[in-house]
């Protein structure tokens, strides 16, 4: 199949960017979206032009590296991530817009690559349980009800790709933060730091410039890891209780 691509090209963070017209020719429909870009890049390189820079790594939907807004939707029409999107979902001759994840907190590095290090800084603020190596008791000393363990796993499945932020009109990171706060708050091991974790992560999220949640739920719709929006409700509860406790103390 042949496709008309409109691809965001931008030399670096300081330069202005623009949509460039690029033709993708002879694309097999069993190729993945990223393999389609590989073919286009081979073509561009052959012509002495610089290939389109895009982030990708595992290409099996788990590392969270690949991004791309395809026709305005983070990860496009994929059920999960961009790397798991196959060209059979598109029609021959179609025009496809390919842009980076858009958010002020994710500045463009080059072309389709953005800087998501704000996510790491939020995790550093409190997304952990303090468990020094070697200090743990036997794992079965602390039974965890299956229901709680399963709910924690559901939240822990977040791959940190940032699609939730890119999809949100407010560029809110509450699905991302809610996922980690929920994962650890649901487990008995996470209780000791429950209050400080919620406070620190939310405050860092605000300092980084992510917006608030106003219940559009676009985040849940695009999330490749199926993180439910209920983690946002839990985050609100956790934060409210933590802020009250913090105020009292």
């Amino acid at each position: 199949m042949n496709l008309h691509l409109k691809v965001w090209r931008q030399k670096d963070a300081k330069s202005a960017g623009k949509l460039a017209d690029i033709e993708a020719r002879n694309i097999p429909e069993d190729a993945s979206f990223l393999e389609m870009l590989d073919i286009v890049n081979d073509d561009l390189t052959g012509k002495g032009e610089e290939p389109i820079a895009f982030d990708h790594d595992c290409r099996e939907g788990i590392c969270g590296t690949c991004s791309l807004s395809i026709n305005g939707v983070p990860h496009g029409p994929s059920e999960t991530t961009t790397c798991q999107l196959y060209m059979r979902k598109f029609k021959d001759g179609e025009t496809i817009h390919v842009e980076p994840f858009r958010a002020k907190t994710f500045p463009v590095v080059r072309d389709l690559i953005v800087d998501r290090s704000a996510f790491d800084r939020i995790q550093q603020a409190g997304g952990f349980i303090t468990a020094r190596t070697g200090s743990a008791q036997d794992a079965n000393c602390l039974p965890v009800p299956k229901v709680a363990a399963d709910a924690a796993m559901e939240a822990a499945a977040c791959i940190g790709c940032g699609a939730c932020v890119a999809a949100c009109p407010n560029a809110s990171a509450m699905l991302f933060v809610g996922a980690k706060v929920s994962h650890l708050a649901l487990l008995p091991q996470g209780q000791a730091e429950r209050t400080s974790r919620a406070l620190k992560m939310v405050r860092t999220m605000d300092e980084e410039g992510f917006g608030n949640c106003s219940n559009y739920l676009e985040c849940e719709a695009v999330c490749p890891a199926d993180i439910p929006a209920s983690v946002i409700a839990r985050l609100n509860r956790e934060y409210t209780v933590a802020a009250v406790k913090d105020g009292v103390a």
Partner: protein
């Protein structure tokens, strides 16, 4: 130049070596630890766990990774689980049994003392991960659940859905994050190590390239840890992430580190078959599927009927037929080779006849579709996205693919290479899996090395090194930096006609065709004849557009492929010189009449550790004999 390989295995009975060694190892007092700087390259299970643990102890750590965040290292893609000798299922497991299964699974080509230690610390890993909040699967009573894996007859595998690697890595990442916040660890994402710096023969730093700005800089340290994973991408198509590479290990090799057993590569039996030339990677379907799926091919050659039209009597469930006691759970090397035999025999299925069926019809009949969906739903979904086929209604098609590499840089019992101060952890070293790794043991090894081995053993090297850290003003740093710059400029200056990927694909084809699942003297000679001219053409005709002082994806790839083009030759040379079959290394000349691998213990019961002798010179094959005090190497039988 041949080297003396002292593995420094402690004396005494096998079960007491580690305790004894820990007691005899040198300690660094807490007030002195902050005077040491340690470089960790890589942030996967081994790197993140080591960096976090060393930071907690009070060392100053710098951690580097090529990904945009340490959370994305390829350990994250491990699906099935992690082994540990907990015996929670009361089914006869023990440290001794996990040790024996691992040694036997590795076809008696791993180091006994290292494997025993791995089994010993395995239980503590599960405790550590649970304390961090890793949400392992649980039973209704709240206790941890287990499943079975290939090569074992006990249930000792802990898992978190089909995403165990992800959850373990995020656990280690969270511990690492805590140390970054405490400022004991400084993190350098999107930074690639391009060389190691030796000062007076000791590893005292690295040269790196900032992948965003292109700046090339040096970092000095008291010790350097390489936790940089495996080299499966030398085959171009593998289950590795696109960025996985051999560069850190290869640069260390060219500075004098020995490369051990590079020919030990693991071909995983259950991957989605190749669909076309454009394909960029292969996707694994977890081995756990073999708990309920049945592997078969038609009995008749060239049988093109649809799978459901082939009656049971005309199907060959070849693993169940050949290995009745392990059946579909035979180890990976054996399962892969059996699939290849069936396809070579003209009984393969799907496009090109390169595939076998993995059939869930019986499991669905026995358990019902909802149960199968609960156990494997995410894998069935992934299979559907990639192939467009519904595996609830028709069998999956699978074929073996390169997955893991058991070979790696040579290390002693302290995980230190033959270069003092250079340590190697996780998949990047060679010591624990012999010629074949069992399922769910990679995660165990990565975390064992990082959490529970290296933090104890590094003291032996560091104690006498206090105050000896050089600065990057030294001549050795300037010279190494200049080497890196020259190489980068050379790649950019070729301006040839072919893309980097062209050369990578071509190398991958040679490696897979001549040094893949089966190897022979003839095929290896062919590979060894074809790789040097390809490498020569690369350096004359590769096209690397763009500039060095900017984000340049082609340049990154070119540097890695240039190293693969050298390393591939060493891998084939090692395969050529190892005139026996063992584990994942199958030489067609050495097999029993029934097709099983035929080891040659009298001539090859050793580690081959290759030493660099300069460009164009033949490397030296050093030998470390494998001494078995506890187990008696036998013919591996899974029948």
């Amino acid at each position: 130049m041949s080297a003396v390989l002292d593995s420094k295995i402690p004396s005494g009975p096998l079960s007491q070596k580690w305790e004894k060694h820990k007691f005899e190892s040198k300690l660094i007092n807490p007030a002195n630890r902050r005077k040491y700087e340690i470089i960790v390259v890589g942030s996967g299970l081994a790197g993140a766990s080591a960096a976090a643990s060393l930071g907690e102890m009070g060392y100053k750590v710098k951690c580097f990774c090529y990904q945009d965040s340490p959370r994305r290292a390829h350990s994250i893609a491990a699906q099935g689980g992690i082994n540990a000798a907990k015996n929670y299922q009361n089914d006869g497991d023990s440290v001794q049994r996990l040790f024996y299964d691992t040694i036997k699974g590795g076809d008696f080509r791993s180091r006994e003392a290292n494997v025993y230690r791995l089994a010993e610390v395995s239980a503590a890993i599960i405790d550590q991960c649970v304390a961090q909040g890793v949400p392992f699967a649980r039973e209704y009573g709240g206790l941890l659940a287990n499943r079975s894996f290939g090569g074992a007859q006990v249930s000792r595998t802990f898992y978190a859905r089909g995403q165990t690697g992800q959850q373990l890595l995020l656990g280690a990442y969270s511990a690492l994050n805590r140390q970054i916040a405490e400022k004991t660890v400084e993190m350098f994402p999107r930074t690639e190590m391009l060389d190691v710096v030796l000062v007076d023969g000791h590893a005292k730093g690295i040269v790196v390239r900032d992948m965003v700005t292109g700046a090339i800089t040096s970092h000095a340290a008291d010790a350097v840890l390489l936790c940089t994973g495996g080299y499966g991408n030398v085959f171009y198509l593998s289950t590795n992430a696109k960025g996985c590479n051999v560069t850190a290990s290869w640069r260390a090799y060219k500075r004098g580190a020995l490369f051990a057993n590079p020919c030990y590569t693991q071909i995983h039996p259950t991957c989605i078959p190749v669909a076309g030339d454009y394909q960029s990677k292969l996707t694994l379907m977890s081995e756990s599927l073999r708990n309920d799926g049945r592997v078969w091919v038609p009995k008749k050659k060239g049988d093109n009927r649809k799978p459901h039209e082939i009656p049971d009597a005309e199907r060959d469930y070849y693993l169940e037929r050949k290995y009745p006691s392990f059946g579909n759970l035979a180890p990976r090397d054996i399962s892969s080779r059996s699939a290849k035999e069936a396809c070579d025999d003209g009984r393969g299925v799907g496009p090109g006849g390169l595939g076998v069926f993995l059939d869930f019809a019986d499991a669905i009949k026995r358990l019902g579709e909802p149960t199968v969906r609960e156990r494997y739903g995410n894998l069935f979904d992934m299979y559907h996205q990639i192939t467009g086929e519904n595996a609830y209604q028709q069998p999956m098609r699978i074929y073996p693919a390169v997955h893991y590499t058991m070979g790696g840089l040579w290390v002693d019992y302290d995980l230190m290479s033959n270069i003092p101060g250079l340590f190697v952890l996780g998949e990047a070293n060679f010591s624990d899996h012999g010629a074949n790794r069992l399922g769910a043991s990679a995660l165990m090894q990565g975390l064992a090395d990082g959490y529970f081995v290296l933090p104890y053993t590094i003291g032996n090297y560091l104690a006498p090194q206090i105050g000896k850290r050089p600065t990057t003003d030294r001549e050795e740093f300037k010279r190494t930096e200049a080497d890196v710059r020259a190489r980068t400029n050379r790649l950019l200056g070729i301006k040839g006609k072919r893309t980097v990927d062209h050369f990578h694909r071509e190398l991958g084809r040679i490696m897979w065709d001549y040094c893949g699942m089966a190897r022979s003297e003839k095929s290896l000679q062919r590979a060894l004849a074809q790789i040097p001219p390809l490498r020569e053409e690369f350096w004359k005709n590769v096209n690397v557009p763009g500039e060095g002082e900017a984000l340049n994806v082609s340049l990154e790839k070119a540097g890695r492929v240039a190293d693969f083009l050298e390393f591939g030759e060493l891998l084939c040379l090692d395969a050529f010189e190892r005139r026996e079959s063992c584990g994942g290394h199958f030489r067609e000349e050495f097999q029993y009449p029934d097709g099983e691998a035929k080891r040659d213990d009298s001539n090859f019961q050793h580690v081959a550790a290759w030493g660099f002798n300069g460009e164009g010179a033949k490397p030296t094959r050093n030998v470390e004999p494998l001494v078995f005090e506890e187990v008696h190497p036998s013919v591996r039988s899974y029948k």
